[in-house]
């Protein structure tokens, strides 16, 4: 069987498996996630930096947790770039399109309602 390919994509997968973090890393990541969740719950009771500051902090924490799970538990940080692109297209289209449609309906800056 002849070896034709000079291209080293073939080894990415090996490298990825070799590069999977150790169980200790997973446990540390999970501890971090648990901590972040705790902070989130606290924030929902004790506002920091006013209404807007709290919302901003909560969103940042959610994004950080989201990214951590994707990067470490789903190995996107260590895996083939195709996966990153496929997933990124989905995220970007979703966030982009839905935010635009919500803003055309004035969801982000609407007058306060009675209740």
């Amino acid at each position: 069987m002849a070896a034709v390919d000079t291209h080293n994509d073939a080894h990415t997968d090996d490298a990825a498996h070799a590069g999977h973090p150790s169980e200790l890393v997973y446990i540390k990541v999970a501890l971090g996630l648990a901590l972040a969740t705790g902070v989130e719950v606290l924030l929902s009771y004790h506002k920091v930096g006013g209404e807007h500051g709290t919302v901003a902090l909560l969103l940042i924490l959610a994004v950080v947790k989201f990214a951590t799970v994707v990067m470490y538990f789903m190995h996107l940080k260590f895996d083939h770039p195709y996966f990153r692109r496929l997933f990124a297209i989905g995220i970007v289209l979703a966030v982009g399109c839905y935010c635009v449609y919500l803003s055309t309906l004035h969801v982000f800056h609407r007058p306060p309602l009675p209740h």
């Binding site: 994509d9 989130e40 919302v55 994707v70 083939h80 496929l86 989905g90 995220i91 839905y98 309602l113």
Partner: protein, 211 residues
Amino acid sequence: MSAVTEETPDTIAHGPDPHAHDGHPPTNTGVSNAKIAMWGFLGSECLLFGALISTYLLYRGRSVVGPFPKDVYDIPFTSVSSFVLLMSSLTMVLALSSIQRRDERRLRVWLLATALLGATFIAGQIYEFTSFVHKGLTIHTNLFGSSFFVMTGFHGVHVTLGIVMLITLWGMSMRGQLPPENAEVVEIVGLYWHFVDIVWIVIFTIVYLIK
């Protein structure tokens, strides 16, 4: 729709491939078909859940009659069930790590643990739904009820499908049909499971925590 795509690890490409079993099929990218398919599917799912979450956001505060979110939410309870789901991601990744180390016994332990944590989350959701109904909130009470139940219910169905897949993997392993060479199947089911978890991370913040 479509729990269909994830359960089909037929990576047959150009005729039979004796190497397909060890996760190194000779493909252009060097990664397996099934894994690309799963990531593509997850990208597609982003738009699915995005539509539900944005619908919830659109209708936030627009319900004409109560009960309103502040009347029914039990933040401590939901925080605990969110935490349970988050930790199931840890056990899932430990299951994958076990099979990659060819430790099939620990694989089964972690698979069951993950399924159990997932089931706990679903049990919590059922309890939550029932308590909301007792407080007078159903799908046809108001916009909050409609958008809340459809969104979280849709997520719950995804978790349930994930549990079915996990238990299937566990059963396969018990019958010796999940040798370490097939670790990629666990990885792919894991991707789905983690995705369901990250969707909940977003829902938890946007729906429950942000007032």
